[in-house]
């Protein structure tokens, strides 16, 4: 499903590699935590999957895309099969909840009748039914993140990428978001989540890939955040 082979990434403006000879494989339907301190390369890892960056060395495969080698023209196709969620939600403040979700479908040319059918479905799935006409500023942080998840999931991606999705949320709300991500994972969607939240990782008991200075230092099938931290 996802495979990195000896991937290194050195940004032009820095000498230290952000990723250093990383090889890792993730199966379809897996739930994987990507952990490590700030600056360890988690976001870089996720950006490589999206072809927001290209690796300096090595190869990246997502589904049947050879991500590093593919032509720019095919990048939209790759991104349509990956959903993304971020710490800062990235919602459009001038659009309502339903419009924010619909936007993701409109801009990839989905027909209107599909959009009016699937948007309410996904809003129901994330528990936002009844709030579709609110603007992002009228929602709590947790609710805003649910909108973002709905937008990422509405096109039924193969993979859901979440970069510290609970970074701005309190522990209770974070727990709700994790339950939602688990539910999405149960539909067969691969979920990769970068985080440094001990509590969440420890309570979920899922696969943990730990990065340190751009290297994979641990890969546990049912891990905890780590001892002595």
């Amino acid at each position: 499903m996802i495979r990195l082979e000896h991937v290194s990434k050195v940004y032009k403006t820095s000498t230290r590699p952000a990723l250093d000879d990383v090889s890792v494989e993730m199966e379809k339907g897996e739930f994987v935590f990507l952990i490590g301190p700030s600056g360890s390369g988690k976001s870089t890892f996720l950006r490589l999957l999206l072809r927001e960056e290209v690796p300096t060395r090595g190869r990246v495969y997502v589904s049947n895309f050879d991500v590093a080698k593919m032509s720019r023209r095919r990048v939209p196709r790759l991104r349509q099969s990956i959903g993304c969620v971020f710490q800062d939600f990235r919602l459009l403040p001038t659009k309502t909840v339903a419009e924010n979700v619909a936007f993701a479908l409109e801009v990839i040319g989905k027909p209107r009748n599909t959009i009016v059918k699937v948007v309410p479905e996904v809003l129901q799935l994330v528990g936002l039914d009844g709030k579709e006409d609110r603007f992002p500023t009228e929602l709590s942080g947790g609710e805003q993140q649910r909108v973002a998840i709905a937008r990422a999931f509405v096109n039924r991606p193969l993979v859901l990428i979440a970069d510290e999705p609970t970074g701005n949320l309190d522990p209770d709300t974070s727990q709700d978001i994790m339950l939602l991500l688990e539910r999405i994972n149960r539909t067969g969607t691969t979920v990769i989540m970068a985080t440094h939240d001990h509590g969440i990782v420890d309570s979920m008991r899922r696969r943990v890939v730990e990065l340190s200075y751009g290297k994979v230092v641990r890969d546990d099938a049912r891990g905890v955040y780590g001892v002595g931290r």
Partner: protein, 300 residues
């Protein structure tokens, strides 16, 4: 492609930068207006050349003495000059016009200007041979043969006069086109700048579009259409400007010249014929500028 989506984006984009949009439209309009003016002058010169092509004459003006005393050209030197002209090779026809005929003609041409007519006296108008040539360009033959002959005051060549007149008009056209070019450059920079600002204010939106897998078309088309729409509004404004210019300015200052048939009138039809070119130029320039700007300056 969802057109409704693209167009709602375009409208929002244009509204978000109202002042820039207006500046862009006005600059484009002035540039196109000048271009249109230049094209109208070109049409006018073409029409005039066609008008005069078959009618150009050389006038052989006779001296005061002959003009006053030989009304019917029966005496020497007038009759001799006439037969000499008729026998010159390349001459198609010779018409004698005495002082009275000439004064009538003068009155007709300048009937719109009574002040001028009040000042004019028949004595100032010489009797004239109006000579039509088979080849209107070959006026030098007549000039060389008849200038300075007894009874001849001067040989007046309409062609030479018209040439100078056309030179004046062409100068006007060149000035209009050069100004149009300078304005077009300003319009180009404004379009490019507006797109960059527009792309900056919409960076979050565009970032999301890219992330969810929108194609290049979807992310860039709104900006491109925004530029083209502004260009089209600019050309409509320019055409409106030309119509107003004709109605309230051009018609007034050229009325005498057009009524006496010296220059052809510029009609609304001329503006109608010129305007598609203005639209075309506006669309091509705004689309090209938009495309190049997106390619070079905006990472979408």
């Amino acid at each position: 492609m969802r057109t409704s989506f693209v167009f709602s984006e375009v409208v929002t984009g244009l509204r978000r930068n109202v002042t820039m949009t207006i500046a862009m439209i006005l600059t484009t309009a002035i540039s196109l207006g000048l271009l249109g003016g230049g094209l109208l002058v070109v049409r006018m010169v073409d029409k005039m050349q066609a008008n005069y092509a078959g009618k150009l004459e050389v006038s052989v003006l006779l001296t005061n003495d002959v003009s006053a005393n030989d009304k019917d050209c029966t005496q020497q030197p007038c009759s001799g000059l006439r037969s000499a002209l008729e026998q010159t090779s390349g001459v198609e026809s010779v018409v004698f016009q005495n002082r009275d005929d000439g004064f009538e003609r003068f009155k007709r041409i300048f009937e719109a200007q009574p002040e001028l007519l009040k000042l004019a006296r028949p004595e100032a108008i010489p009797a004239t041979f109006r000579v039509k040539l088979e080849d209107p360009e070959r006026t030098d033959v007549i000039r060389q043969a008849f200038e300075g002959k007894p009874g001849v005051k001067a040989v007046d060549d309409q062609g030479k006069f018209l040439e100078r007149f056309f030179e004046g008009l062409n100068g006007l056209r060149d000035v209009a086109l050069i100004l149009a070019l300078i304005q077009a450059f300003a319009a180009l920079l404004l379009i490019s700048n507006t797109i960059q600002v527009s792309a900056f204010t919409r960076r979050v939106e565009v970032g999301i579009m890219r992330l969810v897998g929108a194609t290049r078309w979807y992310t860039q088309l709104p900006f491109l259409i925004e530029a083209v729409v502004a260009g089209i509004i600019g050309s409509v404004t320019a055409v409106g400007g030309l119509v107003l210019f004709k109605a309230f300015f051009l018609d007034r200052i050229t009325r005498n010249l057009t009524e006496s048939g010296i220059i052809p009138p510029t009609g609304y039809l001329d503006i109608l014929i010129v305007s598609p070119w203005l639209f075309l130029v506006a669309i091509v320039i705004s689309a090209t500028t938009g495309y190049v700007t997106l390619r070079l300056y905006v990472r979408l």
